[in-house]
Symmetry: C2
DNA sequence: CCCTGTGAAAAGGTTCACAGCA
DNA sequence: TGCTGTGAACCTTTTCACAGGG
């Protein structure tokens, strides 16, 4: 359908932030916004914001700014949010259930339609409207719900196995909360969020500050 | 104490990954490791790994590789893990409790010593060994436990307020799971992890793949 | 001869200044 | 005049090739 030239990954990572600000602006009744205002709201500087938006197209009006609703639609389209991308959660422990309980995902087009867990006492039951299935049912669940994204919340030991099964079931997009480096084929897009890594980066700078004294 | 020259942020963000691999290697009984092996384990290429390590010092032996335990100690020291950095969690809902329940943080030197919540039914109680306090007690809790890091897991509406209170209480390092851009003074280090942003980035590439067809 | 350490080149991102249109 | 869109300069990060010690 619509095709953009090469958009830098760094820009793509900022689009969701712009989109959220645009949704808020729209809800607040704003009809236009300047690059400077939107930049302030999203914590970037104005030229960077304009450059980012310019990769998507020329949606602004010189001397005026951007039409909030129009820009919101275009950013939303670029992000693929015209479609919904069903999600399966692998590993339905504390973190998995916290995600399932979080309403923001469904609102943004990522409904969590199923979970996989090895715990017999959970399988067959439903938590926060999410049905829990046995690992062996994964391929079937993926096909039935047209799952597009797998989220890995299993314990570390099980995370590579979960990734392998997701790939076998045909999933091409994985978000992992596992703290280890997972191996997947090149055609699979894998994003990793390791919560303790984030703390360790803060720890580095705390140490640096302590050493300066 | 020890002082390094300027280490790129990109390098710092990879150090926790190297450290985890080194801990695993050490536990597995390996005594030396080559840059290529360690690079494979951590998903980077060998020259990048060597360049990263070279910012910390010259810890390898040409023709041999790196001594696992020595390198592990050095990376660990660089990350400030000789110290422990106590953590307070603001907003003790599903996500906050999932983090508290996660043993990996304490193991890595980030003990969660307290939580703050507005819910009267939680205040004064303890979940997973973490005592819950009222917001007004934050400054006192920070001082008593020498809290170094605040983690924000509140609902969106409350997140900027939580950040403000953390800053007032003297906290200089914040990890936020809020999906909005928080404003803090320059001297405060703020890292943000927005879970739905990660899904939206996957959504962008799914859309891209769908459009190509 | 092996594998680390590193300058130099290439690529990727950000900033800037200003051209250009409303 | 005001604010967007963008080439060019600048900075950061990655890659590469190879010098150099064990």
């Amino acid at each position: 359908m619509r095709s953009y030239g090469h958009i830098p990954e760094a820009t793509i990572a900022r689009l969701p932030i712009y989109l959220r600000a645009l949704v808020d602006l729209s809800a607040g009744g704003a009809s236009t916004v300047s690059s400077e205002e939107l930049a302030d709201l999203t914590g970037v500087n104005a030229p960077k914001l304009r450059k980012d938006l310019s990769y998507l197209g020329t949606y602004g009006t010189r001397g005026v700014g951007y039409d909030v609703d129009y820009l919101r639609f275009e950013v939303s389209t670029a992000l693929g949010l015209a479609n919904t991308w069903p999600v399966v959660i692998c590993g339905f422990g504390n973190l998995g259930r916290a995600l399932a309980n979080h309403t923001g995902f469904t609102e943004r087009g990522f409904p969590i339609l199923a979970a996989i867990d090895t715990d017999r006492s959970k399988i067959g039951h439903t938590f926060d409207d999410v049905p829990v299935h046995a690992p062996g049912e994964l391929a079937d669940v993926v096909a039935r719900h047209k799952i597009a994204i797998g989220v890995i919340c299993t314990p570390v030991e099980a995370s590579q196995g979960a990734a392998d099964r997701l790939v076998s079931a045909g999933i091409r997009s994985i978000l992992s909360f596992s703290p280890i480096v997972l191996t997947v084929p090149d055609e699979v897009e894998l994003r990793s969020v390791d919560l303790s890594t984030q703390l360790q980066i803060l720890g580095f700078h705390l140490q640096e500050a302590a050493d300066e004294k």
